[in-house]
Symmetry: D2
Subunit: 243 residues, 4 copies
C-alpha cells in the first residue's frame, strides 16, 4: 500500500514576500508535495491558517509520514495540536523536519533540547557531504549535494547526539553543520534535514527531492506490534510475599 | 572545589506508610544525602512541600548535580519549576534520575518520549549486570549488584536509545530492563538509575551508594565554554549579495 | 530482484554428534536455508570442508547477504578467505553472525574486540525481549521470543557498543545478554543474533526464522554510490602555495 | 598518581625532510611530549627504529595512555607489536591516534574498517568546530580551533560511527571531516584527532596541546574490575538436565 504523506507548511512567507511567492507560487508545501505525488505517493497538504492547522484527527489518522516546514509563526501552532502530533509520532508516524522547523514546537518537544544554532542570511554556498553512504536516505545521491545559495546554519547546534548522522554541511562563510540527523522517539522515526530557506529554490533541486522521497520510505511505519506497558504478572514463579 | 549536590525528594510515602518511614526515618532524601556528605560533598536536600518545592533560584544556582526521586505526586510539581530545572540542565547542571522518577515531568520533558514501562510489586530479586565495565559510573563495582527484593521494571522501556548503557537488570520473574542509561541534553549530563523502591532498603546498600557517588562525579559540570548561537557574521569573505 | 543469500556453516557437529544430526539431518545450513527459500529468496549454502570453504570469488560476487554459523573450527577458516569476506562486507555485502560465531575470525576482525563472553551448557530457558520494537528486524515479532532450552551466553560481552540494540536475553540461571546487535562496517550492515546452539531445535522455531528473514531484508545492500577516497583537487579556489 | 604517557612516533620525516626537522628539531614525539611533561605528566617516548619499536613489555606495562603518530612506514610496524598494543588497549590502556595514524595497523585493527579518506596537500585553512561542548576533551577550548595551514582530510572517512563526535573540520577547499572521534574497545578508550601534518607547526599550537592533555585525562584508565568471561555456574537453581 502506498505511503500516505501529509506536508505541513506555515504558508506565511509566500503570502507576504514576492520573492518567495515567485519561487513557490503554490506554496512550499506544493513544491514538496508535487514531486512526491509524481513518484506515486498519496500526498495531502495542510497549513497553519486552516482550521486546526489542517491537522484534525482524521488527517492524522490517515498520515504515515508528516513533513513539517515552519519559520516565523512557530508560536501560533496550538499546544493541543503539537501534543497530538507528538503522540502520533510515539505510535509510529514518521516525521520529517525541514530547515527552520528546528525551532518548531513539535521538534523541540521531541528532542528535549533548545535546538538553537548559528545562522546568517548572506550569500553562502552550501555543500552537503554524505557521511553514511549506505543509508537508505541517501540512496542514489552522489558524495555531496551542492546548493549555490542557502541560508547558513552553523554549529553549535543544540540537539541530542543524532542516532545516525547522514549529512554534514560545509558553508563558504566558514561554518559546518550536522545537516541530516535521524532519531527514534517511541515507535516513530524522525529525520531532520537542514536545507530549504524560503528565498532559495532549494525544493526544486532534484537531489533534495530525492532525499525527501528516500526519507519518506525510511520513516514510514511498517507492521509494528504496539509494546505492552503497565502492571504485569510474573512470567516465572516467584516466592510468595511476606508482609 | 567540592561538587554541590541537591537531593530532591517527593517525601510523601515516608509520611503515610510506616513501612517506608521505618526504612527511611529521615526520608529517602536523607538516606541518599548522608553517605554523599560522608564522602565530603556539599549536599542540600529539597522536598515537594517546601515553598517552590525547595528549588528557588538560589538553590539551583548553587547546585552542580541534582538528584531526583518522585513517585505518586509527579503532577504536583509546578511546570514553572520543571522548566527552570530543564534550563539549568541545558546550561550544564548534572541530573541523576532515580527509579519511579522515570515518570517525573523533568525526565519526560528532557527525553521527549512517554518513558512508560512494565512494573510489578511482588517478590522479585534484581541483579544489575554491568555492561560497560570501564565507565566511571561503575568504578569499584563488581560485575553485578544483587538486590534481594525490589519492584520489577520491565521492557519495553520507552526512552530514546541511551548514549551509553551501563547496567542491565535481570528479574527473577522473567523480565529484563535497561537500568543504567546516560544522556546529554544541552550542556548537562543525565544518568537514569532504576533501583530504589520506597518499601525496600535499596539506598542503604553500599554498592548503590557507590554508584550514586560515582554518578555525581561523572555528571558534575567542569569548566565549559557556553556555545554561541544566533546571528553571526561570516568568518570568510563571501561574494556580495545581489538583490 | 530477489536478495541472494549464502548460508555458511562449519558443518562438523552434525557429522559427529547424533543429537545434532537428529535435529539437523541436512545440517544447520539447510535448516536455515530452507525457510528462506520458501519465502522466495535465492539461497546457496557453503561449508568449511568444501574447497575454499565454499566461498570462492564467484560465490561471493553473487552474495548479497552472508549468514555465518561456526563453533569448534574457527581456527581452520583460512585467513585469506576471512580477508575476502571482510572486504566484501566493506563493499556492501550484508553479514548475519549467529550464536557461537561471535568467536569467528570474521566477526572478531570486523569488531576489533575480543568478543569474549560467559557461557554455560545446562538447562537454561532463554527469553529474548524486544527493546527496539519498531526496528525492521523485529517486524511481526511479539514482545519476546521464548526458547525453552538454550545454551546460556552472559555479560560481560566484549563487543563495541552496538549501534542499535534489538534484543536483550533473560536466562533462568540469572544472566542477561545483548542478543541482537547491529553495526555498520564500511558499506556493509552486520547483525549479530545470539540463539542457535547445535543441540537445540532453535532454527526450527518460526519466530527465529522470521527474525532471520527480516534481518536479510535489513542487511541487503541497495543501490549504493561507492565513496571516493584518495588524493583530490580542491573544490574551491585556494591561495597558491609558497614554498 | 600521575598518568604515565608513552608518545610513539615513526620519526622518519624528521630525518629526511629539512622542513620537518626545522619545525620539529627533536622529533614530533618530543614536540608532543614536552608540553605534557610541563603539565606534570610522566612522559616517555618511543620510535619505530628502536628495538621492538621502543615498545617492549616493560614500557607497555608502565603506560596508561599511548599516543601514536605514523605516516609513511605503517607497514614496517611488526604485527607482533601491533597485537601487543591491541591487547593492552583491551585491558584498559588509553590510545590517542593522531592524523595520518588513521592508516596505522593499530587503528585499523581496532576499528575493523579500511579507515580510508580523501586528502590533499595544498594550502588549506582548517577550522575545527566543537560539536560536543561539554566533553572533557574540549575543556577550555573555544568554539573552534583555527589552523592557518594544514593538510586536508575529507569525507567519506571509512570509520565505524563514532561513539562521540567532538570536532568537525571545515576546510577552505570545500571539504568537511569528522576530526575528533571517541571509541571504546574492550576496557580501553580511544580518541582519534585529525590535525598534525608533519610540514606544519600544528603541535606547537597551544589549543592543540590543550586538547591532547585533555584527551590524556579522558583516556587514562581508572580502577577497573576486569570482567569475568568463560564457563560459569548458574546463579539460580536450574532444573536438572535430561539427556
Amino acid at each position: 500500500m502506498s505511503v500516505r504523506i501529509t506536508v505541513w507548511n506555515e504558508f506565511r512567507h509566500e503570502q507576504k514576500n514576492p520573492k518567495v511567492s515567485t519561487l513557490y507560487p503554490n506554496g512550499i508545501h506544493e513544491a514538496i508535495a508535487s514531486p512526491l505525488r509524481e513518484k506515486g505517493y498519496d500526498v495531502k497538504t495542510a497549513t497553519l491558517d486552516q482550521p486546526m492547522h489542517g491537522l484534525n484527527d482524521k488527517v492524522l489518522d490517515e498520515t504515515d509520514v508528516l513533513i513539517w516546514w515552519g519559520h516565523i509563526a512557530h508560536q501560533e501552532v496550538s499546544d493541543e495540536i503539537v501534543e497530538k502530533v507528538v503522540q502520533r509520532v510515539w505510535k509510529g508516524m514518521g516525521l520529517i523536519v525541514l530547515h527552520s522547523a528546528h525551532f518548531s514546537k513539535v521538534f523541540k518537544r521531541l528532542m528535549g533540547t533548545s535546538c538553537d544554532l548559528k545562522w546568517r542570511e548572506a550569500n553562502d554556498k552550501e555543500r552537503l557531504w554524505v557521511v553514511q553512504p549506505n543509508h537508505p536516505i541517501v540512496q542514489g545521491i552522489n558524495e555531496f549535494i551542492e546548493l549555490p545559495q542557502e541560508e547558513m546554519y552553523g554549529e553549535y547546534f543544540d540537539i541530542p547526539q543524532p542516532e545516525e548522522l547522514i549529512f554534514l554541511s560545509w558553508f563558504s562563510g566558514g561554518e559546518v553543520f550536522r545537516s541530516g540527523c535521524t532519531y527514534h522517539r517511541g515507535l516513530g522515526k524522525i529525520f531532520y534535514f537542514r536545507p530549504g530557506h524560503e528565498t532559495f529554490p532549494t525544493y526544486h533541486h532534484p537531489e533534495i527531492q530525492r532525499v525527501l522521497a528516500n526519507a519518506v520510505e525510511w520513516a514510514a511505519p511498517h507492521e509494528i506490534k504496539q509494546p505492552i506497558c503497565g502492571k504485569v504478572q510474573a512470567l516465572e514463579t516467584l516466592p510468595s510475599l511476606q508482609s
